[in-house]
């Protein structure tokens, strides 16, 4: 199990904990993450310029192809945009020619299709719930988790091929394997609001607040995220949140680390302990 590791731009400065956690979890599970010098996935510039967005993504495929590796990323927006770029390249001949031309100027060949996976897919496919259950030393029994899926991995389903876009199960499969109880909640597949952060903070806040309230109403202790942007959104300081305690957002890799005994629990556990060891 060897993958080209695509952390995305935000982890290094904005969410270094996610990077540490992903690496430690993968090392423990025998997944080798090869660091390659990737460029931006192209997601942030997609509002402005389609060519820059797709070219930046495709350049990453050329880098991964040169190393002969599939790409794994812990960020759902990176994942979504990389998959989107593949779909655009296959359907838009004009754009594909333009991108090929830009790649050629860098001396890179247009790569064949490179496999792009989110870390959840890799855990589900390469490790599997059974092995995760075997490896669990401190099951998260009693912890009620609301799985927050993240839009860009789910939809459009025909492009991302992440899971069933209307009824996905992979997140719950992974977390129940380590003993957590996952809750049913209406806004499970809704947006966290991060894409509007800094663009329309009012709506961004409203979307986040609504999700949090819904997760709390469903009885969740924590909200599990598997995306850098989603986690940044829920962790963002917001005056409103302080007066309305709602479930904290926890990176799913930190929950797995706690269950596998690799790190202390990232949140208060139902049995009253705050530490896994």
């Amino acid at each position: 199990m060897k993958y080209a590791y695509f952390p995305g731009c935000k982890i290094a400065h904005h969410l270094p904990d996610y990077g540490t956690s992903v690496r430690s979890l993968c090392t423990a599970l025998g997944i080798t993450l090869v660091p390659l010098e990737f460029s931006c996935c192209g997601w942030p510039v997609r509002h402005e310029n389609a060519v820059a967005s797709v070219f930046s993504a495709v350049r990453n495929f050329a880098v991964a192809a040169r190393a002969g590796l599939s790409i794994v990323t812990p960020c759902k927006c990176c994942f979504g945009n990389l998959k989107y770029a593949q779909a655009r390249m296959a359907s838009d001949a004009g754009l594909a020619a333009e991108v090929g031309n830009l790649l050629g100027r860098e001396g890179l060949p247009l790569p064949d299709r490179v496999e792009v996976l989110h870390l959840l897919n890799v855990l589900d496919r390469d490790i599997g719930a059974d092995r995760l259950r075997e490896r669990t030393v401190r099951p998260l029994h009693g912890l009620k988790v609301a799985c927050h899926y993240g839009c860009h991995a789910l939809r459009p389903g025909n492009v991302t091929e992440f899971d069933d876009p209307l009824a996905p199960t992979v997140f719950e499969r992974i977390l129940t394997a380590v003993g957590a109880t996952t809750v049913e909640w209406d806004l499970r597949l809704e947006c966290c609001g991060n894409p509007l952060r800094g663009r329309d903070d009012t709506i961004s806040d409203a979307l986040m607040r609504k999700k949090r309230e819904n997760a709390r109403a469903a009885g969740a202790d924590v909200l599990a995220t598997g995306c850098t942007y989603c986690q940044m959104q829920f962790a963002a300081p917001s005056g409103e949140e302080k007066t309305h305690p709602a479930p904290d957002a926890i990176l799913f890799t930190q929950l797995l680390e706690a269950a596998l005994g690799l790190a202390p629990a990232p949140c208060a556990m139902p049995d009253g302990t705050t530490e896994a060891r």
Partner: protein, 575 residues
């Protein structure tokens, strides 16, 4: 020599004045808004830095640890140039100050000094050659190479090469020989001078006209005279191995060169270039031999975005410490965006140049817009900060400058669009007509009837939209709903949709597209409408609505140069 003194003093004065001007210049607060955030802790932080000073000086300043970490090729290149040039500066240029007082029996034409000078000069030339090859051969470096880069490289190489040329033309010059014998040699017989000439010609490469004798006896006599009179101050010119090789190479043309007094020309060139370099020290990357070590010491071997001490002075030091090596731009995460969009401000090294000009108030409107675009496109991945061989805290600079641009409502089309109503923008954008982007790339989803003609106006997209769901009055708050946008497109009224709040406040969750029973790419179309509007604004350099906005004060069209407060929520917030 008085001419030399005069020039030297002028160059030193120009240099000092330039440095004072560069650091004393007040930065416009609108480019880098920052207050000292750690005033109370600064003394302790400075003590901490001073404690680590010896280690930092050795590893980061002398051994160029950061350069090695980023690129071993650049390390070799820079180490060659730095060691060679520093050696020449201290022991050759400043020999009256350093070598003579501190080294007993120092004479520039004695070994090992004569040999060392050639060695050090050779190191610099090798370093400059490596730099030239790097600039020419590294593909991503071309857009990050400016006149000042060539000028600096040319200046360093020029000083050393003119030095070699000076030494070589002196070696072959009978004039120089005569000047020395006239001053220092008292011949005992008429045969002494021809003998000494024969020896110097045979042994040390002086080219007399007519040629000196080659008789072995004459040369042997010359050798004796040389040993008694010259050898105290003159090692064999062969120890000046590079200059002597050059002298041999040019000796066929010796008569012409000597007649033209080429050595005098090269003396003026060598001294002139060195003094010009000194006078240019305060400008651009010429300052880096001073500014970069200062910044390296202050950064205290950190690679992250922490600013310690967090003061405006510390930020300022980093601001001026760029050597323009271009490594940041070679490794930049958004360098592909530059390749696609062609705005050099996307590359960190070029953005820094613009930011410095902007801070000095020297950018025009369209250059500020280009800087704003470059700043906006940066993803804050911190790679440039991690690898910068000069240790500049670029991340902190970008975060500050982005904040400044945001405060001036220069953070992109998303802000610009919200400064007028959708109807006003529709009028402006309709009058402008399709951008080059639409004409060339054109025929995208929003312009192609097939993409939305299946729409049956079932309103599914609107009912699943989370943005519509959190709006109390979507018609007022969002201008249009997704299904209304599809309808306008169907009617060929694309311009009416370009500035709708629904388009710009789409959260890109793709629920509309996923749930559409007719498989219409609703979210992809909204993406494209934003791209089209962005291109139209970009084409006209519009960073503010040219019409008076509903809550913004009226201003003249294209009056973008002044900072405006962002009219937040000008088109109505869903409360």
């Amino acid at each position: 020599m008085t001419v030399f003194r005069l020039l030297l003093v002028s160059a030193v004065c120009l240099c000092l004045a330039g440095i004072i001007r560069r650091y004393a210049r007040r930065l416009s607060g609108s480019a880098l808004p920052r207050q000292d955030r750690s005033r109370g802790r600064t003394p302790w932080q400075i003590t901490h830095i001073l404690l680590h000073l010896p280690v930092t000086l050795i590893t980061d300043v002398l051994l160029l640890r950061r350069t090695l970490r980023t690129s071993p090729y650049r390390w070799v290149m820079h180490a060659l140039t730095l060691s060679g040039f520093t050696g020449l500066l201290l022991f050759h240029a400043l020999d009256d100050v350093v070598s003579r007082p501190f080294i007993a029996g120092y004479e520039s034409t004695l070994d090992p000094w004569q040999w060392l000078r050639n060695l050090l000069g050779g190191l610099v030339v090798a370093g400059c050659l490596m730099a030239l090859v790097r600039r020419l051969r590294t593909r991503g470096l071309r857009p990050a190479t400016r006149l000042q880069d060539w000028l600096f490289m040319g200046m360093v190489a020029g000083i050393v090469l003119s030095g070699f040329a000076l030494e070589a033309t002196k070696i072959i010059s009978p004039n120089v020989f005569n000047r020395m014998t006239d001053t220092y040699f008292v011949p005992e017989s008429d045969a002494d001078i021809p003998a000494l000439q024969a020896f110097w010609s045979a042994r040390n490469g002086v080219r007399f006209s007519p040629p000196a004798g080659t008789d072995a006896e004459l040369i042997a006599r010359g050798a004796e005279l040389h040993a008694d009179n010259c050898s105290y101050c003159h090692a064999d010119t062969s120890s000046a191995f590079l200059s002597r090789a050059l002298a041999t190479a040019i000796s066929p043309a010796a008569d012409a060169l000597n007649a033209a007094q080429t050595d005098a020309f090269f003396w003026f060139l060598h001294v002139g270039l060195a003094l010009a370099g000194l006078a240019l020290l305060p400008y651009g990357k010429f300052l880096h031999p001073v500014a970069t070590p200062l910044n390296l010491v202050l950064r205290n071997r950190r690679h992250d975005a922490a600013t310690i001490p967090d003061t405006a002075t510390a930020a300022r030091l980093g601001f001026e410490a760029c050597t323009r090596c271009g490594e940041c731009s070679l490794h930049c995460s958004v360098a592909p965006h530059f390749a696609a969009m062609g705005n050099p401000n996307i590359l960190p090294s070029e953005k820094l140049v613009s930011l410095r000009k902007h801070a000095a108030g020297a950018l025009d409107t369209s250059a500020i817009n280009a800087l704003a675009e470059g700043s906006r496109i940066c993803t804050e991945c911190m790679r440039c900060t991690d690898i910068c061989p000069s240790g500049i805290n670029l991340q902190d600079l970008w975060l500050s400058s982005k904040q400044a641009l945001r405060q001036q409502a220069l953070d992109g089309p998303n802000t610009t669009i919200r400064q007028c109503t959708a109807t006003q923008w529709a009028e402006v954008l309709r009058t402008q007509g399709a951008s080059r982007f639409e004409q060339v790339r054109g025929n995208g989803l929003a312009d192609r009837a097939e993409s939305f003609w299946g729409c049956v106006q079932c309103t599914t997209c609107t009912s699943v939209c989370p943005v519509v769901a959190v709006s109390e009055a979507p018609a007022k708050d969002l201008d249009l709903t997704p299904q209304q946008i599809m309808n306008l497109l169907r009617m060929g009224l694309k311009d009416q949709t370009l500035a709708a709040r629904m388009v710009w406040s789409c959260t890109t969750c793709y629920k509309c597209q996923e749930h559409c029973p007719q498989n219409i790419q609703v979210a992809d179309i909204l993406f494209e409408l934003r791209q089209i509007a962005t291109e139209r604004l970009r084409e006209r350099d519009l960073t503010a609505c040219p019409l008076p906005g509903p809550s913004a004060p009226a201003r003249a069209p294209m009056d973008n140069a002044l900072p405006h407060p962002a009219p937040k929520g000008s088109s109505g917030d869903p409360a």
